[in-house]
């Protein structure tokens, strides 16, 4: 009895999600379900298919003729399906070449990030034995950018979001890619405000100057595979300052 009612409730939630009727907490719950529960995702897809023929009523309209070239240029730099890891590796190679030139930029960005996060005690000048690492993550395709600093003495990561869209219906996941290695998740990051993340030793040991940091778009709750599955919105090398 109550199972049937639950099923009906979930199917209606799927319909509401498919139509985009929900807001706030309900919308969040539906997105979470759609990302995590294949049965629910299937219900959403069934509703989308049921309602799609309504769209036949919408008159076609010609977009600006220049849009075609704009889109083809955008996909030339966008990661295609399934090749995000390849793109990360390519990005890594490119960044290694630039790493030397980046050091000066990273140092100036490091000054920027210290200022807004002043609730905690002032950061001591990095000692020789415990360097500060900084990565300026830029987009391969668009304006996304953020700066991440790693304080190896305190074993924490400071994340300063720059121009990054809010995660709507998905999460942003941070990865460290050791030189020549596969991406390792550092966890979900919230790019709405400057934040600190403690780094457990298992993750901290990968945070070295030869590694690259990258942020990918993943289903709510993070990549289901342990490797990046969605588009990489920004990446950049860690450099010592």
């Amino acid at each position: 009895m109550s199972d049937a009612r639950d099923d009906e409730e979930r199917d209606l939630l799927a319909a509401e999600h498919a139509l985009g009727l929900l807001e706030g907490e309900e919308a969040r719950r539906a997105r979470l379900l759609a990302a995590s529960d294949p049965d629910f995702a299937e219900s959403v897809a069934r509703w989308e298919a049921r309602l799609a023929p309504l769209g036949d009523e919408i008159a076609a309209a010609a977009p600006d003729p220049r849009l075609r070239d704009r889109i083809l240029a955008a996909i030339a730099t966008a990661p295609g399906a399934g090749d995000n890891v390849v793109v990360l590796r390519r990005t890594l190679r490119r960044w290694r070449i630039l790493a030397g030139a980046m050091t000066a930029v990273a140092a100036s960005l490091a000054l920027l990030f210290v200022a807004p996060v002043t609730q905690s005690p002032p950061v001591a000048p990095p000692a020789q034995a415990a360097p500060m690492l900084v990565a300026n993550l830029a987009s391969t395709n668009g304006p996304a950018s953020l700066t991440i600093a790693y304080d190896s003495r305190r074993a924490n990561l400071t994340i300063m979001p720059g121009r990054v869209g809010a995660a709507r219906g998905h999460d942003h996941q941070l990865w460290i890619i050791p030189a020549g290695g596969a991406p390792i998740s550092l966890g979900i990051v919230h790019l709405d405000a400057p934040r600190r993340m403690p780094m457990p030793p298992a993750m901290a040991r990968h945070l070295r100057p030869s590694a690259t940091l990258a942020v990918s778009v993943e289903p709510v709750g993070g990549s289901p595979t342990g490797q990046p599955t969605g588009p990489v919105i920004a990446s950049g090398p860690l450099v010592t300052i």
Binding site: A52, L72, G80, A81
Partner: protein, 190 residues
């Protein structure tokens, strides 16, 4: 595949073939898909966003999204144009939500009984049975249920916006829409 074969294919098969090649990374195939579908998908974005610039930005996101997700398209489970149109509608609705702009504040009655003309090839492609059935089922709904569901679909309205446009309390609107959706599903599954 030579051009004769392509020209002989039904439209649906051409779209499926293009999506398959896009999934393998062919940007030429994306260009071809764009030529066949941009007007339809732009129509959807424009209808929901009501602004050409916004709709063009949304359309770009739509094709980038198609580029990334083409390998997840399964021709055995979905019609290509339904899949594409759904991506377009969802991207446009997301964009509408994130813009925070108030939209479609006119009374519901004024906006959503106007059926647009639809005379492009893609429409005819699937204008078939599915559409006739859905239209038949929508006609069986109470007028206020049908109006609300159509406004949600075409204008991307939320429950709160629908309630305000119809000047009824939110729970009333939810109940209209939910009862309408249940009836629609029952009718389509008969």
């Amino acid at each position: 595949m030579n051009s004769h074969q392509i020209n002989d294919m039904p439209e649906r098969d051409r779209l499926v073939a293009a999506l398959e090649r896009i999934g393998q990374g062919s940007s030429i195939a994306l260009g071809e898909l764009y030529d066949r579908t941009a007007a339809k998908l732009f129509g959807i974005c424009l209808r929901i966003l009501g602004d050409r610039g916004e709709a063009e930005d949304a359309l770009q996101e739509v094709y980038v999204s198609i580029w990334r997700r083409a390998d997840s398209f399964d021709a055995a489970r979905a019609s290509p144009i339904t899949w594409l149109a759904t991506i377009a509608r969802n991207r446009a609705v997301d964009r509408l939500r994130s813009s925070g702009r108030p939209r479609a504040t006119a009374p519901i009655e004024a906006a959503s009984d106007v059926a647009d003309s639809a005379d492009n090839a893609l429409t005819l492609l699937e204008a078939s049975e599915d559409r006739a059935r859905l239209m038949g089922c929508v006609e069986e709904l109470e007028a206020r249920q049908a109006r609300a569901i159509r406004a949600a679909f075409f204008e991307g309205n939320t429950y709160a916006e629908l309630a305000s446009r119809a000047d009824v309390p939110l729970p009333t609107m939810k109940s209209w829409v939910r009862r309408g959706l249940i009836r629609l599903r029952e009718c389509l599954e008969r």
